[in-house]
């Protein structure tokens, strides 16, 4: 583990050149390097065919499709909470799409750029139902498993301090390890973002034996991240991602996108999005139909959500805050014009 950090530090010494023209570098390489998590059910996991799949993975595939017209032209790098920013800053990956919380210090001090929010989340607690705990306020003295190197670690310290309770933190590296410790009863409580708790619970033998407590102790806007030193690349990733949300607003799906893009429709924003009007793709150094490729590869935001983490999947998350603003959520993409 230590060596990994060292390599990261040394890579920092050798990778400065990778930063300037990310799009050219990616094109020359022929694949997009994308950092994902080491495995969270529904968000990023390796499916039965050995391919990376999931809600976060889809963002990488959409960007790859927009650039190469090939959603499989992605090299995935699993990163832990502790290694992700070094991997991005050293140029090892071109973008991160791995439930990363947008915070001031990451944005400013770590010189990262969050291109949007793909999941509005908050930190919660999961306990075995047999404990009979119904509120996080009853957790005084509990042993809590946390993934180290994340914002959850800091929120947890704040929450217990603010409520004048004590706890025993058990720092853990990955979600899989945390799951094993939690199921072995080596900790009473597992805390992470509620989406992560739901995802983890969905993989348990008996999910109903575990409850997620009602308290949400933090705001966790999760989103894709890139380095801030290449504005052209920032814009590209931002607008491919925002385009997926706009596509949902406009009712453009992976099924009807080819038809809608074949000729200009009555809706000007749809036309601009799909490249039948204006020259927006060219401003990003792509072709004008870049969003057609992205949407036909992975679908719009709503399709991605329902396919990987929606109510019909084992993870079973409601849209909630993550519904479009028109449907009572807070998902609101800037206009495509």
């Amino acid at each position: 583990m230590k060596t990994k950090l060292l390599i990261g530090a040394l890579a920092l010494a050798g990778a400065g050149a990778a930063s300037a023209q990310t799009l050219d570098t990616v094109r020359a390489r022929g694949v997009l390097n994308c950092g994902v998590s080491t495995g969270v059910a529904g968000f990023s996991y390796i499916d039965a065919d050995g391919e990376w799949d999931g809600f976060d993975v889809a963002v990488c595939r959409a960007v790859a499709a927009a650039i190469f017209d090939d959603p499989s032209a992605v090299e995935f790098t699993p990163t832990t909470g502790a290694t992700r920013f070094e991997a991005l800053n050293s140029g090892e990956v071109d973008m991160l799409s791995r439930n990363t919380t947008w915070t001031f210090s990451r944005d400013v001090d770590l010189r990262l750029e969050f291109v949007g929010v793909n999941y509005y989340d908050g930190q919660g607690f999961m306990v075995p139902a047999s404990l009979g705990v119904t509120s996080a306020m009853e957790l005084d003295g509990a042993t809590v498993c946390i993934q180290t190197g994340t914002t959850t670690e800091l929120n947890l310290a704040d929450f217990f301090r603010a409520n004048n309770m004590s706890y025993e933190p058990v720092p853990i590296e990955t979600n899989a390890e945390a799951q094993q410790r939690y199921l072995a009863n080596a900790c009473d409580v597992y805390t992470t973002d509620v989406s992560g708790l739901a995802a983890t619970r969905s993989t348990f033998e008996d999910p109903s034996a575990h409850v997620i407590l009602p308290e949400i102790i933090s705001k966790e806007p999760l989103g894709p991240v890139v380095r801030e030193d290449d504005p052209a690349w920032v814009n590209l990733v931002r607008w491919v991602f925002q385009g997926l949300i706009i596509a949902e607003e406009k009712g453009v799906t992976s099924e009807n996108v080819a038809e809608l893009a074949s000729a200009p429709t009555d809706d000007p924003e749809t036309n601009r999005l799909l490249g039948t009007e204006g020259a927006f793709g060219e401003m990003l150094n792509l072709t004008n139909d870049f969003m057609v490729r992205a949407i036909s590869a992975v679908g719009n935001y709503g399709e991605i959500f329902e396919a990987h983490i929606g109510v019909d999947t084992p993870v079973g998350l409601e849209r909630g805050l993550n519904a479009l603003y028109t449907d009572g959520g807070i998902l609101y993409a800037p206009p495509f014009r």
């Binding site: 950090l5 010494a13 400065g16 070094e86 800091l154 310290a157 933190p169 080596a186």
Partner: protein
């Protein structure tokens, strides 16, 4: 050189730098030095240049900012409001704790296993061979994870755990609880009495040795020593009204509270480190004992010394000079290997400074540099202490 008269001085030619033995080694060293310095300079320059290009500066101001995270095992006062420097210090103390515990246990295990491996009893010797080969041929990380998994999966959860030894020992899958001493009023009398009796034991042993050297008469060192060890402290303890009491762990809410809590991560790391390093030390001890020629044993027997006295007075003192130097490197290995602690969530300095602090502040270069300096200092300290000890036990040559 001294027999031959000084040859006529040749004028210096450039090719003499590599053809002439007088200049060659100096020349090669200077060239090597220049190459090394150039390489180091290039790396430093590259790092500085790239850090600047990324807009990252190089400073240690982050150490004074609040850490904002909690640490489970803290030997000194620490809250999430303490600074990153304090968090690093907590980590350093945890590293030193595991290093001291580990070195002590590894030495005990190593000496016992090493001596037993030479036992004439076939079963005992074979068992020790299996122990040594099993531990030193499997990677340490695997052992640590295995012990941790064994603790987590096989021991009961706190709520299901039953205290043993009359409530004194509670083994749960989160760690082991033992009673903690509570120092009441007047307990310093007892401590003082105990320290005084240690001094008395030292004087008695010295007296006995001098007497034996002068007159050949032996004094009862062990019996008197044991009596001095226990009796005065106990008398003072009862006179002052039993000021030192024990606090027993009790189940309260989610966990046991009270007593001394040895976390599962500490137990797993300690056991794995000491058995692993103990296996290596066992081989050093065996090698040291075998290095003393068998004639020494026979000579001691011929003088009428019993086997344990032979070991104590003849063999071990000579074996120690062979055992100590490799023992130093085993201690160093153990200390450095303790950085594997993060695998089981033990909060040593690698976990606090090298991981959480690094992560929350993004100061990779600075944190890793501090870590390297720390391990270097600890290792150099251990090796200088052990070298001093080595110079005391080595054969005195005349």
């Amino acid at each position: 050189m001294s027999v031959i008269a000084e040859p006529p001085r040749e004028s210096f030619r450039v090719d003499m730098l590599w053809n002439d033995a007088r200049y060659r080694s100096t020349f090669i060293q200077i060239v090597a030095l220049i190459l090394v310095l150039t390489a180091v300079g290039w790396i430093v320059n590259n790092v500085v240049g790239n850090l600047a290009r990324l807009g990252k500066d190089f400073n240690f101001a982050f150490l004074r900012a609040p850490a904002s995270y909690d640490i489970n095992q803290t030997l000194i006062a620490y809250t999430s409001q303490s600074t990153h420097a304090r968090a690093a210090l907590v980590g350093i103390l945890n590293t030193l704790l595991i290093a001291v515990l580990g070195c002590a246990a590894a030495t005990a295990i190593g000496v016992i296993a090493g001596v037993l491996r030479l036992s004439k009893n076939w079963i005992v010797a074979r068992l020790m061979t299996v122990f040594v080969e099993g531990f030193r041929n499997v990677p340490l990380l695997i052992w640590i994870l295995m012990v941790m998994a064994a603790v987590n999966e096989s021991l009961p959860a706190p709520r299901a755990a039953t205290p043993t030894l009359g409530g004194a020992l509670v083994a749960t899958n989160r760690g082991v609880y033992i009673p903690a001493p509570v120092w009441g009023d007047g307990s310093w009398f007892v401590v003082a009495a105990f320290l005084l009796s240690l001094v008395a034991i030292w004087f008695w042993r010295r007296h006995a040795r001098l007497k034996q050297e002068a007159t050949g008469e032996q004094s009862p060192v062990l019996a008197v020593g044991l009596a001095l060890f226990f009796i005065p402290s106990l008398i003072v303890y009862f006179i002052t009204g039993m000021p030192i009491t024990l606090e027993y762990p009790e189940l309260q809410g989610f966990n046991f509270r009270g007593g001394i809590f040895m976390r599962d991560s500490l137990v797993a790391l300690w056991l794995a480190l000491s058995f692993y390093t103990g296996a290596f030390i066992a081989e050093n001890v065996r090698g040291g004992i075998l290095s003393v020629s068998h004639g020494q044993t026979e000579a001691a027997f011929a003088l009428g010394l019993r086997p344990n006295r032979t070991m104590q007075l003849i063999i071990l003192p000579q074996a120690l000079r062979v055992i100590i130097p490799p023992l130093i490197s085993q201690y160093l290995n153990l200390t450095k290997n303790s950085s594997l602690a993060i695998a089981v969530g033990y909060m040593d300095v690698t976990a606090t400074l090298g991981r959480i602090t690094l992560n929350q502040t993004g100061r990779a270069m600075e944190s890793i540099l501090l870590l390297m300096v720390f391990y270097l200092c600890v290792s150099l300290t251990i090796s200088s202490v052990m070298n001093w000890y080595n110079s005391r036990v080595k054969l005195v040559e005349r």
